[in-house]
Subunit: 368 residues, 4 copies
């Protein structure tokens, strides 16, 4: 079945393979009147671009985006926005070998089981390059959120078990080191750890954290289209993510009601919460506090160390994967988490517009 | 927007409030020919029924299910299956007080923000009773999985920080204690912990684990309708769940590629994995190994201890919540996790039937 | 696959068979705050109720509706509205014979081909009683439209080739004759024609016309979710409808651009059209004029005259269908056309709320 | 809301404007293993290409399609297929004038009402060029149908009131005249009529008929996703279509049950129908007979004759539309009807695969 479209009202359909001609996305459901140019999108794509440090893949791609439709005189028209990024540095020859066997931790085996064969060049559709379309669409979603004064930012919360220290947290620092780590001291520790793992031809995992500020309360559609449920799906759909939590997440399991409940208080005439164990979500709806989510990212499966696997003939073999791979996924995936979060928020903000008849009546009166 | 329907091909629409006339579910997309009677569903509903121990709510409900449509001469007909459970023990008077304020950790505030008002009786739609429809539909999904020889079972992995010991794991034991804990020793420890928390008018959280056996490989639709992404959404949509992980989950964040990759091996002429850190999912598709997922469940927010909150007039007040509440959610939520997992698996097995043209051609040839 | 849900944002899921325990509908996506009681729905159900004249089926059913969820203190809460109508006059014994053969013009054969068997009692799910859920949901949609000052009314445009005369058109007259015909003279002619056909054990077809007044311009989502495309689907999904047209419909095929184009003019400071060949739709969106649509309804296939068919053993046989059948479908289907039109309009009005970023920004500002 | 995606399992998302950089389509849900090259698609696009006779627009476009993703080594991979056609002959200057007023019969006014402004160049998204994506996707659908031995062909049934004669019907003749008319005599009459209308700066409408052969019985999902309901939506979503009918269509309104019912008979051990008034659909499902549908196409609204309209300032003005317009839409729309029919059939054939549990069990057994 089709699976490359995300969203109900703000719909994002991505396409493209690692070593095909191009990758892209069609955004259907973007409202008319949003100012949009290629630079708005490029700035996000540049954050996931390869080759920016020795800790990510050395593949060289400019990843330049082109708007093919849906924008007229600098504004979105309400019709589908088609965005394309051409592949420039396909080195498919690197991959001829992997056609014949199944790389551990990769989707080679499951693709073959599902489809009968696969585009093995660079992982084809299961490559991390697939996220180009997500990030491009996320850039548009972020522009919409910005008009609603909603801010989304993600960063590395940990790499190889080395976490940021809340005391030293600095969003500015995030962009000063190759790990997207908002803590210079932790970043330095990670550098040492990463150098060690690189020298061992090994790879490492980590955690990405994402915060949403100024989210209006009441967004999310009980009981299945809850905001946290959709965020979970959005984030878990990113390759290599193996866990998702909101607010205190897995810590709640050992907590008690007295500790975990967030008291409601009044502040400046508004209802606020004294604490935020809930991570900004109550009953599957935003509660007006910051939304805080975390994603567990596995170590890159492509490693040059010797590994055991089987080939398509059913023989057990030893392999060593060469090519241009990221020794860690977290730094380049941070912007993907922002993108998927933003797309989900826009979609659910749109869904939220039909929850009250008085506002619908008002909307159509104003339209006259 | 609508949010009470789950699934794309096997569609489950639940309805009903805690203190309304009834609760129910419509299953649309169940294939014809599945043997189904009320007892098949009742057995699962009985596992989530209230009042079965002192560690759950004392509300008395028989939760008897009635099939209203979609079954003829003992078999599903392919048309919508309507299931209904009547409420018997509404004590709405208990709740008149909470109409005026927002219970911490509950959806009272967010419901009011979203809809302008709410059915406050017993939490209305945000009550745990909402899961009756999920469990009833899950029973039908489990019957379908059974015909495909796929097994799903969940249990408590931890309550209040007390985990089962893998050495002592026993599925039989799960049904011998009031905690759904597959380890008698851990269950005894939990009993002590729970008695202590009960005496403090406090509540406790936990972790539910779910295992799927015999899942065929290749199920899941890249890149957004991945199997793990949909399981995450399904499980996170259950009230009180704050985290989700698959396989090693959050542990992968501190792991390395060498440790985390599962080697492929041959066994009895079939491709298998030597380990299962991935929890049965590669690239968003089932890999033929056991699927293993975990959900973090928060402590029940309804506690009799004094708590701070605000009322609808914007006054800060102190409250103490009385009524018939579960001091822990995990035991009764175990079957809900099984149900949501089963519904998701059926839906995605159905989606998986159109991935290969040769099988489609064969399907329609056989149909002649 | 599931097929008993209609709509994207205002979602209607019907269930139930002609001779099952009950029929019903779940409405998911109705906004909170709509005043609703059972009488609002009953008034529409009464218009499709059997046994009201000798020109419709003599089956006796009160078709009393009960609201099971989604309404609190007289208002919708934004959660799913479950409506149920119990079957009272099942005479399944009438139908034991038809289990073994395929009635011409009915869905017996196709149901068996699709599902392998069928609930043959009264046609099961393919019975006209299936429309009870549509009409009940339509009543809710009409309440919403009423709050937006949008009016929907349908009537018989022709029965057995006898059309209403535009000069004599009177909406009041529609409810004065058993044919829903807005023209007393035509109604009288139809009576004679119908008596003749009844005496011949034959049945007759007709045309239903539906008009929508005060529809705001710009509703409909190019290029596939056009308003006319969705109206076509909604109306064609009603059993026995074989054709659909909007505005001049099939007449445009022999027209020219000069004749068919509707000139734009100014009236009271507003853009209007001098004529309305387009039937209120331009480019798949409402243009502010009356929407006018027509449905062609086939003669009831159940007739007592001798017919040729085959049985399940593959033998050619002669049959005569007895039981309590409508000799014409149009009179009772008029309210079904209104219902499906209303549901579609509400759904598309909701979809239309995200077409312009300025209005979305305004919506969320007002929400604070 | 998004509206540029069609289909549930075989999903087609089109994008692009008449005078933008390119137009295209993403097909998500095409099964793996379908042989596909650009020539397969080009052959259909060539049938809708402009400039092929004096009776269609003189705009010169090669409409060359390029496959950007989803095909590897000559076969579809199961991942999204991205197809692009570059615009070559944009003469946007022609259209600067129409920016300021509303062309009668066009979507200018409704676009402005919906979105606040519009890409006025050549009608932007509401141009007939939007159908390029439909036809390209339809070519893929037709390849799938061909593997299932299902044939789809459309042709002009009438232009300007001149119909084909069933005695002279010849599919070969369809491609011999510029009107897609399967009757040489009728084509010659149309030529005279068209020349007359051309000389008057007028335009003409017509009817397109489409036949589907070898459709298996039982396809279509009651009660809302009926095959005829979805075909109606698909065809009505094509610009300029104002009416849709299946089988005898509007003629059934004046017919009787005795005349209209198709008797079932046995032939070569199979159930067949003696006649086909139903047009191959019973109860919303295919019955194994030929599916026959018809679409009423309005005259091209762009005509050079003087017309009355209003401009954006609200002034009543007279206009004459110049540029390169089709004096009739039917000839180039025939292939669009084939495409939309084919896409719908594939989508519903896929939906039909989950209707019976025995076949699902068999499917997954075979998969091992």
């Amino acid at each position: 079945m089709s699976g490359s479209t995300y969203g109900k009202l703000f719909r994002v359909s991505t396409w493209g393979e690692s070593h095909g001609k191009a990758l892209g996305v069609v955004i259907d459901g973007c409202p008319a009147g949003v100012e949009l140019c290629e630079a708005d999108i490029q700035v996000l794509l540049d954050r996931r671009k390869p080759g920016q440090s020795r800790y990510v893949t050395q593949r060289k791609e400019s990843d330049s985006v082109e708007i093919l439709s849906g924008v007229f005189e600098g504004k979105t028209t309400g019709t589908p926005i088609s965005l394309i990024v051409k592949n420039e540095s396909q080195r498919s020859a690197d991959y001829s070998e992997i056609a014949s066997y199944y790389r551990p931790g990769h989707a080679d085996y499951t693709f073959d089981e599902k489809y009968g064969f696969r585009d093995y060049r660079g992982g084809g559709r299961s490559s991390g390059r697939e996220t180009i379309g997500r990030v491009a669409a996320g850039a548009v979603a972020l522009k919409i959120l910005d008009m609603l004064n909603i801010k989304v930012y993600a960063y590395a919360a940990a790499i190889g078990g080395i976490e940021y220290d809340r005391e030293r947290f600095s969003m500015e620092e995030r962009d000063n080191n190759p790990f997207a780590m908002p803590d210079a001291v932790a970043a330095e520790e990670i550098r040492k750890y990463a150098d060690e793992k690189l020298s061992e031809c090994n790879s490492m995992g980590g955690i990405i954290e994402c915060v949403v500020k100024n989210m209006p309360a009441g967004i999310g559609e009980p009981v299945f289209e809850k905001l946290d449920a959709n965020l979970a799906k959005a984030i878990m759909s990113i390759g290599a993510v193996k866990g998702f939590e909101i607010g205190d997440g897995f810590k709640v399991a050992a907590s008690t009601g007295l500790e975990n409940n967030d008291a409601f208080r009044m502040k400046d005439g508004k209802v606020v919460k004294a604490t935020n164990h809930a991570g900004g979500i109550l009953g599957g709806m935003s509660d007006g506090s910051d939304i805080i989510l975390r994603a567990a990212v596995k170590p890159t499966p492509s490693i040059a160390s010797i590994q055991q696997t089987v080939n398509k003939k059913g023989e057990e073999i030893d392999i060593s994967i060469h090519g241009r791979h990221d020794p860690m996924i977290v730094p380049r995936a941070v912007v993907v988490v922002e993108a998927m979060t933003a797309i989900t928020l826009v979609d659910m903000l749109f869904m939220g517009m039909t929850s009250r008849i008085d506002r619908i009546v008002e909307y159509y009166k104003n339209g006259d």
